[in-house]
Point group: D3
Chain length 238, copies 6
């Protein structure tokens, strides 16, 4: 049984609090159960050097955890002088996932950075980050359109992400930390609201999974992302 | 005139939200107006190597700002590989201020780290950090006493901090960012509820201040800390 | 059309040269067409601190490219003081892929490090690395068994990896650099000889892929890995 | 009793040896008792990027200790890859103290760096550094005026610094290392020859000090700086 | 006796495999016995900032060892964040040795970097590197001349290097690892084909050597370099 | 002609001021003309980990320049996070040169570190460092013998070093900065008082030197070291 009587195919309680970081051009405090991530979008009127003069924009993500987001305190990465391999992997994933949703030509020669800072961590921080980052991005684009800096919305797809896994032989949606820790397989799917596949990252920690198991978790992920996309749209409306 | 009709000797609206970081042994989200800092205390059952075997504990602080705590985005310090000089200075100040309030012998051979993460920055982040950190420390000590790990409270003084400055020739209490930016003098006082002086850091940015001006800001600081200490006690009671 | 008249579902010419690094306990110079990677396994009679005393072993991978493995010279990572995010991601992938193939209990309290140094890079360096690393691992285990340090073979699965992608709408197997650069989708599959799924990493760079496209590349990957596994066994025999 | 029969309100023997570093535009080897600091001023005809084109100059300080300036050898900071928090704090203090004495507009678009290298350390290295740095600065300005690069002296105030503390309940001036180590309170005052307050840094290490004690050390500091300023003027004349 | 019956004044078996790294403008895989170094020359149409606009070129070397080039695995230098002192010393030596052979004016405002990556290490890696690097440099220059980018050959001297040492009182040429480890004196000579002296680095590890011993090793070095130069010319012809 | 009418085979005015750093176990401020280096020896009752339990000691050197030791200010190495290649090369040279003069067995399981800090630099800083470091080492050993920690002197050779070069075709002894800058050949010899050769480092910057030139500079170096050794003995006596 899962904690709080949750069904294997159920998401945790969702919450999207828009504009939580008022200085940012767009922001969202996203909660997947006890996992809470503050996603803040910053618009900068420049692009990385290698992209200059091409009339195209750029979108990236940065990711970090507060030291006491976790059950036991985690050392700050600045102490070891560089982001860990895990952090860099997640940052690259967030950036790629959002760029796949944006027409960079339509964005114009500017950059949007989405900072995803985990305030509380109970599994699924990277999928919550992507899901909230898409909302922060949309809010920043709304700001650019209100300011007359953009005429058309460059966000061409709706993106959300969810974790799935096999725990004790059972496929489960949206793992919390205690499930993630013991899962045989851990996977993250970044999908669009129309079923498009942006990113699949599946890892069998101890023994390989069967093709059947892969199909099961893929199906769960599709269900989860559909529900996330509906909730995103509600958050945007309010 | 100050923003929102504030008097020169008035604090900004205060708010202390205890237990905001539920995984921490003690925590407080402190607001001095639009400055918001999450202070989280972590208890570790060890001490730094140079203190081992002496039967004494240790208390330190760490400080960081979310990239979009500020009006324009600030680069993460992990990108440059080390905490900035400013960050280290503040961390050392937080640690010293709290240690002056604690009987380290009575704490026993354990360490308490207080993480002060600035979620929103509008001036006075270091004084808000110290004021909130004292509350997080008290909450962590209460936890240790409930667990039977401590018998007596090692916190021997009540500590709060406030910034003061001279702006346009006028001494002002609890500067916000726009005032801090143009102040002739910028000072931080860490004081106890009974008038004890723990730390004074006064800096005349452009021209020296007169002894009279120093007396004025010292008086303002005492008034501010008195009010902060009353509010701290109310937060602890609730 | 692909270069040298290659079919969409064909691997590049394969070559496995065993024992190319004679000082290593096991080694293999693997070529996937013009991509050449030297995989060298080192046995160390210790494990990382967090694993000590548990009677289990550990397997990791390290990855690097010679500066002139690429068409234009690439700066050494030591110059920037740390492995890039890409390098760390690949190293973590190699380690996870191999550990999924090994009974760490049966390995005993020792560590095997597989160094994958790319001598020439023409796309697919990470999949060539994993495929060659498995052979270097097998050779190192054979050495341990000959020396009487191991009685049973702890390698419980045969592992190979291949890249697949969608280029101009067409699903293709084992991309070379010029294809990889323009692919709409880039994916790497790490599979076992018996169809088990160890790792899937699929990324749609510009627009999401359809579920159908995902099925197509998955099928291609299975075909590719089957052929790689047959070639691995031949290399082990000789 | 203090060492060598010194009175609580007495400075240690002072010595200012001008032009000790002949390649520098201005220099002074300052001795506060056994504390010896070489202060060397370098003029550079440029300013930091953020100050360019504003017609204003800049003054900064750098601080370091020779490894064997101390009783036991201290590791070089270059070994750990970065200046310590303490070093950065002192550097920032030296820079701020000197800038408060300089009309940066009158200095013109150039930079003066004052290197303070501690050859021997017996307490008070930062106050000796500031006091000697002011002399090195004056000498460098004299050089600029002789060369016809400056017409008027941009140094608008005379600055010196001294440490004070409470040791065994007694307020003392200009602490040496053995006193500093056991002091209840440690404070540094940077003042002008006319009584102006540039910087106050007071720290009660173990228990808070009383307002009375703060008044006493402030009075001692004023006396000490007066004497230092007289000695500075004598050094400039010779 | 030396291994494989080698005479004290004999080189190990030599092998120069030109164009081993086909993407490089010039390359050579050099073997001095079991020491194997891949030397790859990259031409870049720019020079370091301090050399710009002077119409002169630049030549540098970089050096690294694969982790398992050695009998026991060596940790990658990127792990410790910087090249070791030994690596930097060798890189500087390679660069200086090659620049002494090149008319930098005639090279024109471009840079040639020679990467020397040790694939297998059995002593003498730096002398093999220099000897092979000269061949890679010549091949890169030939490429520039064929492309019409250079009219005259800027390589004005033929350079090779060899190690010599005193082992058990006996002067020996071209030490392998086991000899190097126990040598009383270890020296590297970089000489030209016409007897010119480019670089001498002689180190008596335990006790000083006599002037006579120095003469003996110098004589051996001249003999060794003569033979290396003949072999280099043969490699260039084929 | 050389500056101040110096002959090609003459040293600059020498000065050895013993015990300049009173906290060190041994020290010497050495001057070779306008080059001034403070050499301070520190005794530590431990050895590096790889040498523990072998009953042998260790001697190392560290080297640094004050920023304004040079005509134009040099940036501190701590700013770039690591010692430069040049610094590391010199440190390794100082250490090797001293170890060749010491019976490490007789020294016992302790370490002596000689810090060589250049206060003023006018060429020949590394040779002045070695020559002064030997005196600091001797003084530290004298201290150990006085304290009864050593019974016999482990320093078995007298060591000094000098730079030589070819300038405008003329061989010259003990180059100053302006000569060094334009020299065709730059060499450093570390020799013993009895003619033993410890280290030779000769570099022909632009064109190779002839064997004859090498002989000439070697002869000059022997003459220079003889004179340095006589002066060292006088410094020890006083």
């Amino acid at each position: 049984m899962r904690s709080k009587g949750r069904q294997p195919d159920a998401l945790r309680p969702l919450r999207f609090e828009m504009d939580w970081a008022p200085y940012a051009e767009g922001s969202c405090l996203v909660s997947f159960g006890d996992t809470r991530v503050l996603c803040a979008a910053s618009v900068e009127e420049n692009v990385p050097p290698w992209l200059r003069g091409q009339g195209r924009g750029w979108v990236t993500g940065e990711y970090s955890m507060l030291p006491r987001a976790t059950h036991a305190r985690t050392r700050r990465e600045v102490q070891s002088g560089k982001p860990s391999g895990r952090t860099q992997e997640i940052q690259r994933l967030i950036g790629r996932s959002l760029r796949a949703a944006v027409d960079l030509k339509a964005l114009g020669e500017r950059r949007i950075v989405i900072d995803c800072d985990v305030l509380q961590a109970d599994g699924g921080t990277r999928t919550a980050s992507i899901t909230g980052a898409w909302l922060a991005l949309k809010a920043a684009v709304a700001y650019l359109m209100e300011e007359g800096l953009l005429e058309t919305d460059p966000v061409v797809a709706q993106v959300a992400a969810v974790s799935v896994g096999v725990v004790g032989g059972q496929a489960r949606l949206d793992l919390e930390y205690e499930e993630d820790r013991i899962a045989e397989t851990d996977a993250n799917f970044v999908l669009t609201s129309t079923g498009g596949v942006i990113e699949v990252q599946a890892t069998a920690e101890n023994h390989p999974m069967t093709p059947d198991q892969f199909d099961q978790i893929f199906t769960l992920a599709r269900k989860g992302v559909s529900e996330l996309c509906i909730a995103q749209l509600q958050a945007l409306k309010s």
